[in-house]
């Protein structure tokens, strides 16, 4: 479904529901209230579901934000403040609190943060209970009718409040849809699926988590307005932890991250008890039992499971098998790289670097230099410390001691990972580490947005993120895969896409971690062509691989490590025949060693 169609559908459902509830005499007060209940619960379930789906953070504390919106509405309405002002202020205050909480989310595992938000909910209940001047304490407080500034309506009756609640829900769903399918949503998914790799393209996971939680908290506060006006009386029982747990149930039952799922989940927790009214005291049985049964049989929640069934039914699950050779030329790739990556102007220098893990010396006083626009190969047997060096350059590991880790005048050790991306250092990963929940196109676009500043600074022609993504897709022959998720792609394609991602960052110095590992001959050719293109375009390259021959072919100079120490450094031909290298790789038998190296 196209975004426009989806948003029109949301709007249509909202207007339809608003009309059914709002036209006098069409339906009675009871169905009106059931609709309002589904509407205000759907707002907060949406908030919980969105943050769970896009960031993997689960919250039991969202009723605190709902309560904030509700009590703010009650207190400000009494002063005659119009709804518009109340909504904006509730949203802003909740979003600010949510932002601070979201910043800390990265410190905890999912479960612990979930339980921490439980503490938030309990704290909110305490505040409501004790701050009775503004909340009425446990006795609750009445809410004055809503005044709408735009329509000039003095005060809104209960039926009007139902329509207001439905409008708030419609707004919340539109907002969530726009954010989730926009640039922010893609960044959040990138952080969720590869927290570490996302920093390498310049994302700040903590900040992204905070933004997501903040937006979610803001949306949740709108549910509070709906509750306040459609019930016109606030009782703290309506905001306690028990309700927070129900929201979790609704989210999981509907399917986390799904808009339709949020609506269904809200309908589930409202309508099931209402339908069970006819049979006294059966509602808890029905509710508990249906929760258990739904999750036993529809494990991912209603909407994701059913849409997967439908997809299978319609045959969309069958992907065309793809295995075309990547027919592109180094010159063409060089052109692509020239458009996307500023040529290197600075040398990457590492001097006397040591990294110790406890007693283990992973790196012991090594150094290397990648002059601007040159390609340097780094080889060495397992345990030589190659990947450790790369991780120090990326900022994933801290150097125990180093004389210099610099890019030009910039001391990289003072920068966090995302800062190094901004300084022009890009990298690829041995296992590709693509963002599991983004299509290739979305991944390139997201990365391209982050790389825009570097391209501009490097004086490259301006291009939108979408254009950059399209160029990479065309230039690397990925058009057949562009709208697929990484999990659906062969490994070779993933590696090409990983290189494509680094092209979108606008980096000038690129480190590649085993780009040839695990690839077949055709795929190696593709990677080789891309690397040659990068070289022609004047980008600095640091390449680490076991495929010694490939490294030799592409590099200006080669460095060999063994056991965390520098073994030898020189021109490829020198290193290839250096006796120490032969020994390190193959023991002492020189003749067979040479054969093996050449064969590799």
């Amino acid at each position: 479904m196209s975004p426009l169609l989806r948003r029109l559908l949301i709007l249509a459902v909202g207007i339809g529901a608003g009309a059914i509830a709002g036209i006098p005499g069409l339906i009675g007060g009871y169905p009106q209230f059931v609709m309002a209940s589904v509407a205000f619960f759907s707002i907060v379930v949406l908030a919980v579901s969105m943050v769970a789906g896009l960031t993997g953070i689960w919250s039991l504390g969202h009723m605190a934000f709902v309560a904030l919106g509700a009590y703010l509405a009650a207190n400000l309405s009494a002063l005659g403040v119009p709804v518009e002002v109340i909504a904006v202020s509730a949203f802003a205050v909740s979003a600010a609190i949510g932002f601070v909480l979201g910043l800390s989310a990265g410190r905890f595992s999912v479960l612990y943060f979930g339980l921490l938000t439980m503490a938030l909910s309990l704290a909110a209940s305490e505040v409501i209970g004790h701050w009775s001047d503004y909340t009425g304490g446990d006795e609750g407080m009445p809410v004055a009718p809503a005044r709408i500034f735009l329509l000039g309506i003095g005060s809104l009756g209960l039926q009007g409040a139902v329509v207001l609640t439905i409008s708030l829900a419609t707004f919340a769903f539109l907002l969530a849809d726009i954010v989730a399918h926009g640039s922010l949503g893609r960044k959040w998914l990138a952080v969720k699926s590869q927290r570490v790799a996302s920093t390498a393209i310049g994302l700040k996971p903590q900040l992204e988590n905070a933004k997501a939680f903040s937006l979610s908290a803001g949306i949740a506060s709108l549910a509070g307005l709906g509750i306040a006006y459609s019930i016109s009386y606030l009782d703290p029982v309506g905001f306690d932890l028990h309700v927070g747990v129900q929201l979790l149930v609704a989210t999981v039952v509907g399917g986390a991250g799904s808009l339709l799922g949020a609506l269904l989940g809200a309908a589930f927790i409202v309508v099931v008890p209402e339908m069970a009214r006819s049979v006294p005291s059966v509602s808890m049985f029905v509710f508990g039992l249906s929760t258990v049964l739904i999750l036993l049989f529809l494990r991912k929640g209603i909407v994701p499971t059913v849409s997967a069934w439908l997809a299978r039914l319609l045959g969309r699950g069958q992907r065309n098998s793809v295995g075309e050779a990547h027919a592109f030329k180094a010159d063409a790739v060089a052109d692509l790289v020239r458009q996307l990556l500023p040529a290197a102007t600075d040398a990457l220098e590492v001097k006397d670097l040591s990294v110790h893990f406890g007693g283990v010396r992973a790196l012991d006083g090594v150094g290397l230099s990648v002059p601007a626009g040159k390609a340097v190969g780094l080889i060495g047997p397992n345990g030589a410390g190659k990947t450790t060096l790369l991780n120090v350059l990326s900022g994933f590991y801290q150097a125990t001691r180093a004389d210099a880790v610099t890019l030009g005048d910039t001391d990289l050790t003072t920068l966090p990972t995302h800062g190094r991306a901004a300084a022009g250092f890009g990298r690829t990963f041995q296992h590709a580490e693509l963002f599991g929940e983004l299509t290739l196109r979305d991944m390139f676009e997201t990365t391209a947005e982050l790389g825009a500043a570097r391209r501009k600074a490097g004086g490259l022609p301006a291009a939108s993120a979408a254009e950059v993504a399209q160029r990479i897709i065309d230039g690397l022959g990925l058009s057949a895969y562009a709208d697929l998720l990484p999990g659906e792609l062969p490994f070779g394609i993933q590696k090409v896409a990983d290189v494509g991602r680094v092209l979108a960052t606008g980096a000038s110095v690129i480190a590649l971690d085993e780009p040839f590992a695990g690839l077949d001959a055709a795929e190696r050719t593709a990677i080789r062509t891309i690397l040659q293109g990068m070289r022609q375009a004047g980008v600095s390259i640091l390449i680490i691989d076991h495929a010694v021959q490939e490294v030799m072919d592409i590099s200006d100079r080669v460095v060999a490590f063994e056991f965390g120490r520098l073994l030898v450094e020189g021109l490829p031909e020198e290193v290839r025949h250096h006796p120490e290298v032969l020994r390190a790789y193959f023991g002492t038998s020189e003749v067979s060693a040479v054969k093996k190296v050449v064969a590799a």
Binding site: A52, S104, A119, R195, G288, T291, V292, L295, L296, F396
Partner: protein
């Protein structure tokens, strides 16, 4: 502060119930990565079954065994029928949690339907009181604490010195490795759920004796047990036990010297502070999450 010792003694007594529940939560979590929210309700159901047995004439000690056994089997059934079908792994973590929430609601409703909503009183095991550090404690509480400590020593012995226990610890560290060395993970999970729910039943049984058997018996205690789990770490059994006792003492000290009104708030503030200083709890290991 002259009554500090009595306050601490009373705290240890209350803490024994929290510690047992916390231990149950942790044992189950370690074996199957599931936070069992139904553990309190399962234990309460066990207590009601034993109440029926007592009304039919069973002696108290037998009733306690009935409660433990019933809750244990119920736990095994829960794992086998509701949790295992969800499949392993991180993805099902919250699904499993919500399934146990649903189960808890079901049990709560069933207790209301079968035994009604009125509290049912249970005669104490041994009537009378005893003075400890100048505070009068019922024999009931003292016995409860003693049994709780014995149960914890048993658990420690079990995990350290028996084949099944050692296997369970190995399995908690690495499910795959456990399978490779020939430990049946299904049996381990069943054992853990039986043990976890059984320990919770001991706690619920003595709580019921102290007040009454009612459907909300474990709500307040479970809340504090979770606090104890936070404090000690979700993966550490000694941490859970110590955490439970610590919460009992902290709760009593806060109630006595700071404010009888804000004691929950104080307890939770301490937990939140601990979490920020040491997110994995004092004795818990940071769980490895793939980089």
């Amino acid at each position: 502060m002259h009554d500090l010792l009595p306050v601490i003694a009373a705290g240890i007594v209350s803490g024994s119930a929290y510690a047992l529940l916390a231990l149950g939560i942790v044992i189950i979590f370690r074996s199957t990565d599931t936070v069992n929210f139904a553990i309190g309700d399962t234990a309460t159901l066990g207590v009601f079954v034993s109440v029926t047995a007592m009304q039919a004439g069973a002696p108290v000690a037998v009733a306690l065994l009935i409660a433990i056994t019933f809750a244990g089997f119920f736990g095994v059934a829960t794992e086998r029928l509701l949790v295992r079908p969800l499949g392993p792994g991180h993805k099902s973590l919250f699904i499993a949690l919500v399934v146990t929430i649903g189960l808890g609601l079901l049990i709560h409703a069933a207790i209301g339907a079968i035994w009604g909503h009125r509290p049912i009183t249970i005669a104490p095991m041994v009537p009378g009181t005893v003075s400890v550090f100048g505070v009068a404690l019922t024999w009931n509480k003292v016995i409860a604490t003693a049994i709780a400590i014995v149960a914890m020593v048993f658990v420690a012995w079990f995990f350290r010195f028996t084949t099944v226990g050692v296997a369970m610890r190995a399995s908690a560290e690495d499910h795959f490795a456990a399978r490779v060395v020939g430990i049946n993970p299904g049996r381990i999970a069943a054992f853990a759920w039986a043990l976890g729910c059984g320990l919770a039943a001991i706690a619920a049984f003595f709580l019921a004796m102290e007040t009454s058997a009612n459907a909300n018996l474990t709500i307040s205690a479970l809340f504090r047990a979770f606090a104890g789990v936070f404090l000690g770490g979700l993966t550490s059994m000694p941490g859970a036990a110590v955490g439970g006792f610590a919460i009992g003492i902290l709760d009593n000290i806060a109630g006595r010297y700071l404010s009888a009104n804000y004691r929950d708030t104080i307890v939770f503030a301490v937990i939140v502070a601990v979490l920020f200083i040491k997110p994995a709890g004092f004795l818990g290991a940071g769980r490895k999450e793939r980089v």
